[in-house]
Structure formats: structure tokens, C-alpha cells
Subunit: 250 residues, 2 copies
DNA sequence: CAGTGGTCTAGACCACAAC
DNA sequence: TTGTGGTCTAGACCACTGA
């Protein structure tokens, strides 16, 4: 085992056992050098590992602070989609967030999974409607939502590529155009953020993002839109209840 | 901007644009030193960043390889729990995996969120049933599932702390003891793996894990068990369909 | 404004695995 | 076998920010 791994291990154990409490700092780097008889590089390598695991955060002039995990906000995914006068919504708990600005319309290379769903070649440009959602009061960003539009859908309904799509948004426009009732499904995964996502969402190092991909289909099964929402995995979890299939219980 | 950030940025862009194709290698470290006129430390710092983002993987004697993301397997969460002769199951697609060994019973400090659900003090020891699930053929581990048992439940039903809990497993034992029908809910989040999880699941650096936490309650709302399943976020996604609440549509 | 972490250099030897 | 990345040293100067 490398020297730095030994140091990482001892520090990690002390943190998990609570000997170094959340909010307090690890010994400063020069102290760790002395304690372990290692060079600064080695000590820093050891602490970098803890940072990548999301256990500590380095703060200039203060030291390496043991992170306290914030309580996660639960998003309760509706297993039914609801709508009100404004439009469709997919989450009973999302009412507190608002788009912080008008959607940005760009043409971007579709991510591999989105390209597959939209049926365009990987790396091909598609129209994207990007929104940053957050707390209206503080301006704090909590989610980055990008809606990738099928080229066919944009050709049929150019309004989908306008910043303002009118009452009810893109889904109402699609349904008015004869694609009613739309069908949706969602998939949840996670990955490390891009540097831009980390900046927008103010993510600490070592914090992954949850990615919710919602696919919109016509009743015939044609994909009109893929919405990818990215949010801090440290601050959010996605919950749902499970119904018992009583008919099958012996 | 630090010199290493510049290097990271250029390499990242080349990777995303496909100029350095998945499966091929970045220039070797000595070449990067020369190209950027930087020391080895600086070059390595730049590449470490790409590794932490999950974009590249370092392979000895071969070089720094651009990773190709494996296709994700979709777990379709049932919104209903089913059961057959074996017991309850929560996923229509999980049939291919089997426990690779008998459950390990240990007493471990409950993770903070689990402690909260079980109503024990943070850091307090609870009984844990740990299972490694995987491909029966290859022995490859795909999921680590730990079932944390409420102290009350173990006191009432000591069999829950036995490796073999009999036909139907712990849920059948609980229901036989009068807690029928059990109720479940799930929450999905993500985090970076512990070193042990990374080893067990053979995770590359920069790959987070999905964590599915399922809570088992009595009809009266008492929490009997919390099951935490951890799986590679790169190899799995969790999907579900969304039903339309037709009654509410105008 | 001083002390913390951040960046960078130049050089050395090691360990592993693909060739 | 040997070239790749892995580890480690000793030392220097910088930049930010909280005491």
C-alpha cells in the first residue's frame, strides 16, 4: 500500500468514527507532514482522495474541513402527470422552484443517450431549450434542465424553438398539433458533473449529480422531446411510494 | 486560470469533440510536458482532473485511455410490488441477478439517513444483513445490498438476524408475526463510492453509485427495516413510466 | 495581514503489465 | 523486457481569505 493510502485510511477512519467532527478541520498540511514523516506532496495526495470522496472540503486560510452532509430534499415523483392552468407538471414538490431566466435556445451536439432516443446520429446538433431552475428569492440555482427537441418536431412546429412558447408551453403546442395524448417515461441515473454544472449548482468536489431523463412520445411512439434535468445528488433524492399488487398476494 | 486547468480544458474539449476517440490514448505524459512546457506534476494534475470526471482511465504501460461509457442497463422499478413462490420482488428486470453468497450478518454503525429512519441515534450499531448480488455465471458483482433491521424487530423476531430466514425471507416472517400488509417506499440518490464499494463493484475512478433506499413499514407506520442497495451509476439507470391522470385533464 | 492551501519545478526510483 | 504511469522528495513562490 502506498504511503498516501495509509494516511488517507487513517484520516478517513477518524472522520467516520466522528473523532474529527463535521465542521472541524484536519491537522494542517505541515502538521501532517511531520506526523507521518512524509513530504507535502504525499500528504496532499492523501487529502485529495478524501476530497474526491466528498468527505472533506479545503478552505483557504481555514484548513481542510470535514463536511457535514446537508439533509436531502426529497422530490416525490408523481406516477401520474398532473396539469393545472399553467401546464403539465411531474412533481408534487417542485412548486417552489422557478426558472431563473427565460429559456436559452441553442443548437448543441446531443449527448449520446439523447441522440439515441431522438434517433439522430451521435454528435449531431439538435435544438436545445436550456433552463436554470432555482429559488426565486435567493437566485440560488438548484437544477439545470435542458429540453432536446426532435428535428422533426421543430420542422413541424417552429414555435418550439422560440423562447416563449405560449400558454402551457411546448407540450400544449404538441397536443394542439394532434399528438394528444402525449406519453412520458423517466429514467434516473447519476454521473460526475461537468465543470460548468459544478459551477452553476455550486457543487463541492466529490459530489455527483442526479440526472433525470424524461422522454415525450406521441401516442404512436415517436419521440418528440427528451428533457434532461441535472441536480445535486447531495441535496436531492427522488422518492416514490410502492403500491401493493393485492390481487397477486396469496 | 492555473496552467493545469488550461491543459485539462484543451484535452477535455478534444475528447468531447471526438478528436481523441474512445479507446485511444492521450499523448503520454512526457509528450504533454514537452507540448505544454510544463513539469510532470502539472501535467499529471491536469489529467487527474479528467480522471475524476470519469472521462479517462489510466492504464499502466498503455497510457491514458479515453473511456467509452458502457450502455446503461435499465432497472424498471415496479410501482407495484409483486410476489411469487419465492417472495416479494420490487423490480421486473432484476430476475437475472442472484445473491453471490449467503447474507453476512454484522452489527454496524447505521448510516445517518438510515439511523433517522430507524429511529436510533446516529452512529449507533444496528443489525445488518449484507448481500452481494451479481451474475451467477461470471461471479461479477453488480449490486451491494444491505438490509438494516430495527432493534425492535430483531428483539421481536430473532430469526431476522439469522443467515437463513426461511421461505419468503424476512418479509414473510414479519407478516406472519402480524405486521401484514407491509408497506414500502423508495428513494433514489447518488454519491461517490467508498473504497470498498469501488473495489467490490470494480468501479473506475470518477464513477458514482446510485443508492436505492427502501423503507419497510408496518400498517401502523413503524419502520421495521431499511434496505440500501448500491449500484454503479454508469451501468444502471432506474426507469418508470408515467401515467396520465386523465380525470384532471381539461 | 498572516497563515492557509494552490501551484509549480526538477529529479529520482518503483511497479506493473502489455508487448 | 521495457515503457508506461505511480510514488515520493525538497524546495520555492503565489493567492486568497478569514482571524
Amino acid at each position: 500500500m502506498a504511503r498516501w493510502e495509509t494516511i488517507t485510511g487513517e484520516l478517513r477512519e477518524a472522520i467516520i468514527r466522528g473523532e474529527i467532527a463535521p465542521g472541524t478541520t484536519l491537522p494542517r498540511e505541515t502538521d501532517l507532514e511531520e506526523r507521518y514523516g512524509a513530504s507535502r506532496t504525499t500528504v496532499r495526495r492523501a487529502v485529495e482522495e478524501l476530497e474526491a470522496e466528498g468527505l472533506v472540503e479545503k478552505v483557504r486560510r481555514r484548513g481542510t474541513v470535514v463536511r457535514r452532509s446537508p439533509a436531502r430534499t426529497r422530490l416525490t415523483r408523481s406516477r401520474r402527470v398532473y396539469r393545472d392552468d399553467i401546464g403539465y407538471f411531474f412533481d408534487r414538490t417542485a412548486q417552489g422552484w422557478r426558472a431563473l431566466e427565460t429559456p436559452t435556445i441553442t443548437r448543441v451536439p446531443a449527448p449520446a443517450d439523447v441522440a439515441r432516443l431522438l434517433g439522430v446520429e451521435p454528435g449531431g446538433d439538435v435544438t436545445a431549450r436550456s433552463r436554470i431552475m432555482g429559488e426565486p428569492d435567493t437566485g440560488e440555482a438548484t437544477q439545470v434542465a435542458v429540453s432536446y427537441l426532435s428535428p422533426d418536431a421543430v420542422a413541424e412546429l417552429p414555435v418550439l424553438a422560440e423562447p416563449d412558447t405560449g400558454p402551457g408551453g411546448i407540450y400544449d403546442r404538441m397536443e394542439e398539433a394532434g399528438h394528444s395524448p402525449l406519453e412520458w417515461e423517466e429514467a434516473i441515473s447519476a454521473r460526475m458533473p461537468s465543470p460548468e454544472e459544478a459551477r452553476l449548482l455550486a457543487l463541492a468536489p466529490g459530489v455527483p449529480v442526479l440526472r433525470i431523463v424524461r422522454t415525450t412520445r406521441t401516442p404512436g411512439g415517436r419521440v418528440l422531446e427528451v428533457n434532461a434535468t441535472v441536480l445535486s445528488a447531495e441535496r436531492f433524492e427522488i422518492g416514490y411510494a410502492i403500491d401493493r399488487d393485492t390481487s397477486a398476494t396469496p
